[in-house]
């Protein structure tokens, strides 16, 4: 499903944001992650699946366990997504400021 691969869709859910914060400092197994939440284990698994599908989390096998860790590059994508839009408006407002300063001195 295309929707799930969208990082913005993934972080729209508060539980998924909490999972991301949890694994930000250290990798964890699904069991350890689930133990931090009151929700049922399958619900947490579903969230993990969505986060993995959109590449915010990566799975790494270690012995018989699978550890989840954060993919910082994908997180950066979120931070970067409004940057061009911000630049666009900043340039435009800078122009406004200079046009009106000019206008003021003339008028």
């Amino acid at each position: 499903m295309d929707l799930r691969r969208d990082v913005f869709q993934a972080i729209a859910d508060p539980t998924r944001r909490a999972i991301l914060l949890l694994v930000a400092t250290q990798s964890m197994t699904a069991g350890t992650i689930a133990s931090h939440f009151d929700t049922k284990r399958p619900t947490v698994s579903k969230h993990l699946q969505i986060l993995t599908e959109c590449e915010l989390l990566a799975k790494e096998p270690s012995g018989r366990e699978i550890y989840y860790h954060l993919n910082p590059n994908k997180m950066k994508e979120i931070a970067n997504f409004i940057a061009p839009f911000q630049k666009l408006w900043d340039d435009r407002f800078n122009k406004l400021e200079s046009v009106m300063k000019n206008y003021k001195t003339k008028g």
Partner: protein
């Protein structure tokens, strides 16, 4: 360099706010948004129509050197209080984006400083994110204008 314009876009919401402080009184920032000659100077569009009154309509347009329309947007104005605020709808033509609702507030900080707060509401979260992700027709329009300037200066 840090950008002076702040954009707040919380995830999962169909709105965003754009804030900017100017070294200008609120009255001049308002004027820059409501007088066609001034709008043209900083927005880089042609203003085909601008009725600065309640229920007044507006149309902006940008064409390339060959007369091809690159960008055209229109809307209606509401709730105009000179030097303080107005509300407008904004629709980009032929893009598939739905119209958006925009609240403009011109806040006076001092005699020489002011703050503009734009609150924009989109039809859905998806629409907002789509628009944010591709700084879109207006970006292309602006890039084109800059290109034209650069070429002209040579």
């Amino acid at each position: 360099m840090e950008l002076k314009t702040k954009i707040h876009a919380e995830d999962g919401k169909q709105e965003l706010t754009i804030e900017r402080e100017f070294d200008l009184p609120a009255s001049l920032v308002f004027k820059a948004h409501t007088e066609p000659e001034l709008i043209e100077q900083w927005m880089g569009n042609k203003v085909l129509k601008f009725e600065a009154k309640n229920h007044g309509g507006w149309i902006f347009e940008t064409k390339n050197a060959d007369g091809v329309v690159l960008f055209r947007a229109n809307g209606v104005l509401h709730d105009i209080v000179p030097n303080e605020r107005f509300t407008r709808t904004f629709e980009m033509e032929n893009t598939g984006f739905f119209p958006q609702l925009e609240f403009f507030e011109f806040q006076e900080i001092s005699e020489t400083k002011s703050k503009l707060v734009m609150h924009i509401i989109y039809k859905s979260v998806e629409q907002r994110d789509k628009i944010l992700k591709m700084p879109f027709a207006q970006g292309i329009n602006m890039a084109h204008n800059q290109l034209e300037q650069v070429v002209k200066n040579k």
